[in-house]
């Protein structure tokens, strides 16, 4: 037996060392990053529901590279490589396939290809997650405090709006700029939907950057609150208000009207609006079986496969793009600006209300439901344990989801008109 035969048995290693240097380093780096994500997910630093499947997928896809036979290689690369070329690939997914014949072939070869083709690349998985979010939302918080909720939500969209021109100035085209600017909305499904619609070539790095950073909001925003808001104001107790009851008929009617109006305004984002409001409608109509189905299998199933597919998409040859560094910088700028905008909105609300409203609520306008609202309440409770800001924070949080969906609609509708 020769060394050559041994290397053929362990093709993962052989393909690793037969790669070019950048790909070799990229694969090793991404395997290690995947392991780190699993560790941080387990520790609770990052969102475990997403990071554990994503990290494992990232490690596995970069480890499990083999030499594809010529027919599979041609199908996986859509015939862009000569049939005789020894092409590296995996048996997990071929995201670049476009031609129908090749796609049909790959559906029978790669085990995650059916989920990618029928649920991911058409945005269905983002819509499933959004349905789950809809079921968790109580729009009553917005209806009870419309001024405060919407004002804070609009303030917290600073990153989503301001990052667009910054991204254009940094060399991205309008479509890519709009997609990365959506990270400021801190809503994963919306970033996925926008990037799939506007910048399909960059949707993998944009979505990965978005989800990595969204995981960090839970750990990073508390420091930002402590840095931007003095302790005296963090602990500000708001005047107690009587418990208000917005009835389910009002919430259901609002969901129907809002969904219809928003779909009429932004048909390109209609799948997102429908998914969100169908969740709200099911909840408010009291359809407990549907609520249990969407809240359980749909939401958690979609989250599992979203994480897994995002991880598997992080193959070195796909993710190593010169624009990734720019995306990393822009992603953090977007989230930072949104948080600063939200807190500035909180300060304005504090002054306009005669110093009654706790400015920390502003950060809940960033629509990472319900993380930012929980972060705001947690920080306030640390200073004044009996101060309750959660109802107001949730109102801003839910408004944030709706305003981010509206901004998605605006970007998805207007940006293609601006692009030559």
């Amino acid at each position: 037996m020769h060394l050559h035969d041994l290397l053929n048995i362990f093709q993962g290693l052989t393909s690793l060392f037969s790669s070019s240097w950048p790909i070799l380093l990229g694969r090793i780096g991404l395997m290690l990053l995947g392991m780190l994500l699993v560790y941080l997910g387990k520790k609770g630093v990052l969102e475990p529901l997403l990071m554990i499947p994503m990290g494992l997928g990232m490690s596995a896809v970069n480890a499990g590279v083999l030499f594809l036979d010529p027919v599979t290689a041609a199908a996986a690369t859509d015939g862009q490589v000569g049939l005789s070329a020894a092409t590296h690939g995996t048996l997990m997914m071929a995201p670049l396939v476009q031609k129908t014949d090749n796609l049909m072939y790959m559906l029978q070869v790669d085990f995650l290809q059916p989920i990618y083709t029928f649920a991911f690349s058409n945005g269905l998985i983002a819509c499933f997650v959004f349905m789950g979010i809809g079921v968790l939302l109580d729009v009553g918080f917005v209806l009870a405090r419309p001024f405060l909720s919407m004002f804070l939500a609009l303030s917290a969209e600073l990153g989503t709006v301001a990052t667009f021109p910054i991204a254009v100035a940094m060399g991205l085209n309008y479509r890519e700029a709009a997609s990365i600017a959506m990270v400021g909305g801190a809503d994963g499904p919306m970033v996925l939907f926008t990037s799939l619609t506007l910048a399909k070539d960059l949707f993998v790095p944009i979505t990965v950057v978005a989800y990595l950073y969204l995981g960090l909001t839970y750990g990073g925003y508390p420091y930002l609150i402590r840095y931007l808001v003095p302790k005296k104001l963090i602990g500000l107790k708001m005047p107690a208000k009587p418990i208000v009851r917005v009835t389910s008929d009002e919430k259901l009617t609002f969901a129907v009207v809002a969904c219809t109006v928003l779909c009429l305004l932004f048909p390109s984002a209609a799948p997102l609006f429908l998914s969100l409001f169908v969740g709200v409608a099911v909840r408010e109509a009291g359809l407990s079986y549907f609520v249990a189905f969407i809240d359980g299998p749909v939401l958690y199933g979609a989250t599992l496969f979203l994480g897994l597919l995002l991880g598997v998409l992080c193959e070195a040859s796909i993710i190593l793009n010169p624009k990734v560094l720019i995306l990393l910088i822009l992603g953090i700028i977007a989230l930072l600006l949104s948080a600063i905008g939200g807190i500035c909105g909180g300060y304005m609300a504090y002054y306009f209300s005669g110093r009654k409203i706790n400015p920390v609520i502003g950060i809940a306008g960033v629509s990472c439901v319900p993380s930012t609202a929980k972060v705001a309440q947690k920080e306030v409770s640390k200073v004044t344990p009996d101060a309750v800001i959660l109802p107001e924070a949730l109102g801003a949080n839910i408004s944030g989801v709706i305003t981010t969906a509206i901004l998605t609609g605006i970007y998805v509708t207007i940006v293609p008109l601006l692009t030559p």
């Binding site: 009870a144 405090r145 419309p146 389910s248 008929d249 009617t253 009207v257 109006v261």
Partner: protein, 75 residues
């Protein structure tokens, strides 16, 4: 639906405003040219969103009237 009917003016005004906004943004503005088109699109969108806001204000108004907030679903 008693709470919606009890506050019907706000709901009607909000929905009407939103529909007019949609009509301006999607029906009238595409017929215009140049800057007028953009003004029409943005104005219509803002008007439609303002309509939704009016509905929220209506609900808030209802909550501030204690006798109406006593009405419950199915009563």
């Amino acid at each position: 639906m008693k709470n919606v009917w009890a506050n019907f003016r706000f709901w009607l005004f909000g929905v009407s405003t939103a529909v007019v906004g949609v009509f301006i943004a999607r029906g009238v503005a595409p017929q215009l040219t140049g800057n007028a088109r953009w003004v029409g699109v943005l104005g219509g969108q803002l008007l439609a969103l303002a309509g939704l806001f009016v509905i929220c204000l209506g609900v808030r108004q209802r909550l501030r009237r204690p006798q109406l907030s006593e009405i419950r679903d199915g009563e």
